[in-house]
C-alpha cells in the first residue's frame, strides 16, 4: 500500500486513492504523522481525491487530524480537487446528506417478516416487500421496489433520507416523523424517488442524478 501523505516538488499531498475506506485513510494519516514527528511542522497539505468524493464533514475531520500535528489543510483554488464539481452531482444534496461511517449492503430482497437494522446507512440491492422492515440510523437506499416499512435516522437525525427505485412504502418514517400513503388514492409513479424532511414535513421528490 502506498503512503497516504506524500511530498513531491516541495508540496505535500494526501492521496485518497491509497486506501479503500475513509476510516483507513484517517488511520494511515494519523500513523504517518506520528512517525514523522515534527518533520513536516507548519506545512500546508492539499488533497488529491481522484474519483472519490469527500463530504464537508470528512474534510473537517482531515483538518482536525492535520492541525493536531501542526499542519494545515491548503484550500485549493479549484473546487474540483475536493471532488464536488468533478463528480457532477448536485452539491447541495451532498452538503445536506448526513455522514455515517458504516454502510451495510444487503444483496437480496426482503420478504414479509424480515427485518434489517443498521446503525449507519443501508443499501438494499433488491425489493422490500410489505411486512418487511428496514431500520437504519442513517440513510436508506433501495435499488428496487420499496413496499414495506422503512425508518431512516432512527436515532433522531432529521437529515436522513430514503431513496428507492420505486417508492411505495406501507409506512415511511424519518427520525420522529411517521407518514403513510393517503387512503383511497393509488399513486403510480414510474421513476426513482427520494423522501426527506423539508420544513418539518416529509416530502417526496423525484430523484435527480
Amino acid at each position: 500500500m502506498s503512503a497516504v501523505l506524500k511530498s513531491s516538488n516541495g508540496k505535500m499531498q494526501i492521496n485518497m486513492q491509497s486506501c479503500r475506506t475513509f476510516a483507513e485513510i484517517k488511520d494511515q494519516l494519523e500513523e504517518q504523522l506520528k512517525t514523522a514527528g515534527d518533520f513536516w511542522l507548519g506545512g500546508g497539505v492539499s488533497i488529491e481525491t481522484g474519483h472519490k468524493v469527500l463530504s464537508s464533514k470528512q474534510l473537517e475531520e482531515i483538518q482536525t487530524i492535520l492541525s493536531g500535528h501542526g499542519l494545515h489543510l491548503q484550500t485549493n483554488d479549484s473546487e474540483a480537487s475536493t471532488g464536488f464539481e468533478s463528480s457532477g452531482h448536485d452539491p447541495s444534496l451532498f452538503e445536506q446528506l448526513p455522514y455515517y461511517e458504516d454502510t451495510a449492503l444487503i444483496c437480496k430482497s426482503l420478504r414479509s417478516g424480515q427485518k434489517i437494522f443498521t446503525e449507519g446507512n443501508v443499501v438494499i440491492l433488491g425489493d422490500v416487500n410489505p411486512g418487511a422492515e428496514v431500520v437504519a440510523g442513517g440513510n436508506i437506499l433501495v435499488m428496487g421496489s420499496l413496499r414495506g416499512m422503512v425508518h431512516a435516522g432512527v436515532f433522531g437525525d432529521d437529515a436522513a433520507l430514503v431513496a428507492a427505485y420505486r417508492l411505495s412504502p406501507t409506512q415511511l418514517r424519518i427520525a420522529s416523523h411517521i407518514t403513510r400513503p393517503p387512503d383511497g388514492e393509488l399513486i403510480v409513479v414510474q421513476c426513482p424517488e427520494l423522501a426527506r424532511i423539508r420544513g418539518g414535513k416529509v416530502c417526496i421528490e423525484k430523484l435527480k442524478i
Partner: protein
C-alpha cells in the same frame, strides 16, 4: 353490558378465521357496539391487511405486553367505524414472544373499554393457539364443508373443552349449496352430526370476499354480498338476538322464486 371475549379458531389454516373476525367485528361495530379485534397470529399477521389498516401500524401486541408502549397507543381506530379498533400482531417476531398469562391480562385490560373483544387465532394447536384462547370466555369455531377441516375442528373443540371453553359455537364457511344438492359436498347436518355443537351461522361461498379482502374493506359493508349478509346475521346472533337461519338456496332470482310459489300453489 358485560363485555365478552370471543376467540375465532379452526385448527386448520385457510378456512376463513381472519375473514370471519374482520367481518363479524365490522358487523358488530355497524350495530353500534364497541369492538376490538386482536390479531394473535404473530409472525404471519393478516387481519390489518384485510381491514385495510396495515399502513397505520406503529406499535403491536408484542410492544404492549413488553410494556414498550401503552395499550391505547397500539390500538388502531378503524377508518370507517368509530367503535372498531384493531390491536395488530407483530410481523418480525414469533409466537413465543407472548405468553398465555400476558394474553389473559391483556384481554382483561380491554374489557373495561369494549363490548366485544374478538381474538383472531392462528392456525395450529401450538403456543399461538394457547395464547389466543387464554383470556377467552367463548369460542367460535370456523370450519369449511371438507373432511379435513371438520376433522381439525373436532380436535380443536376437544382442546377448547379441555381448557374449560364448553360453549363453542360453529360457523360453517364457504358452503356451496349447488354442490351440496348434487351430493358432492358435506351438508350442514353431516357436519353438525360429527361436531355436535351449536350452529352460529352458515356463510355461502362468495366472490365478493376475495374482492373485499384484496381491497381491505370487509364484505359486510357490501349490501349485495351474500356472505356479507350472512355475517350481519351472525353478528345479530352473537348479540343474543334470535335470527332464523339464512335461506342458502342459490336460486335467488325472481323467476325461480315465482316457480317455487307456483309449485306450492299446486
Amino acid at each position: 353490558m358485560k363485555s365478552r371475549v370471543l376467540v375465532v379458531t379452526s385448527g386448520k389454516g385457510g378456512v376463513g378465521k381472519t375473514t370471519t373476525t374482520a367481518n363479524l367485528g365490522t358487523a358488530l361495530a355497524m350495530m353500534g357496539k364497541k369492538v376490538v379485534l386482536l390479531d394473535t397470529d404473530i409472525g404471519l399477521r393478516n387481519l390489518d391487511v384485510v381491514l385495510g389498516l396495515e399502513n397505520r401500524i406503529v406499535f403491536d401486541i408484542v410492544d404492549v405486553v413488553n410494556a414498550k408502549c401503552k395499550l391505547k397507543q397500539a390500538l388502531i381506530r378503524d377508518k370507517r367505524f368509530e367503535g372498531l379498533c384493531l390491536l395488530p400482531a407483530a410481523q418480525t417476531k414469533d409466537k413465543s414472544a407472548v405468553t398465555p398469562h400476558q394474553m389473559k391480562n391483556l384481554t382483561n385490560e380491554l374489557r373495561s373499554d369494549f363490548d366485544y373483544i374478538l381474538v383472531d387465532c392462528p392456525a395450529g394447536i401450538e403456543q399461538g393457539f394457547r395464547n389466543a384462547i387464554a383470556g377467552a370466555d367463548d369460542a367460535i369455531v370456523v370450519a369449511t364443508p371438507e373432511v379435513s377441516s371438520v376433522r381439525d375442528a373436532d380436535r380443536i373443540i376437544g382442546l377448547l373443552e379441555a381448557a374449560g371453553l364448553n360453549k363453542s359455537r360453529l360457523i360453517i364457511n364457504r358452503l356451496r349449496s349447488k354442490m351440496v344438492k348434487r351430493g358432492d359436498m358435506m351438508n350442514i347436518e353431516d357436519i353438525l352430526d360429527i361436531l355436535s355443537i351449536d350452529l352460529l351461522g352458515v356463510v355461502p361461498e362468495d366472490e365478493v370476499i376475495v374482492i373485499s379482502t384484496n381491497r381491505g374493506e370487509p364484505a359486510v359493508m357490501e349490501n349485495a354480498s351474500r356472505a356479507g349478509a350472512a355475517y350481519r346475521r351472525i353478528a345479530r346472533r352473537v348479540t343474543g338476538e334470535e335470527v332464523p337461519m339464512f335461506n342458502l338456496d342459490d336460486s335467488n332470482n325472481i323467476l325461480d322464486r315465482f316457480k317455487k310459489l307456483l309449485k306450492l300453489a299446486r
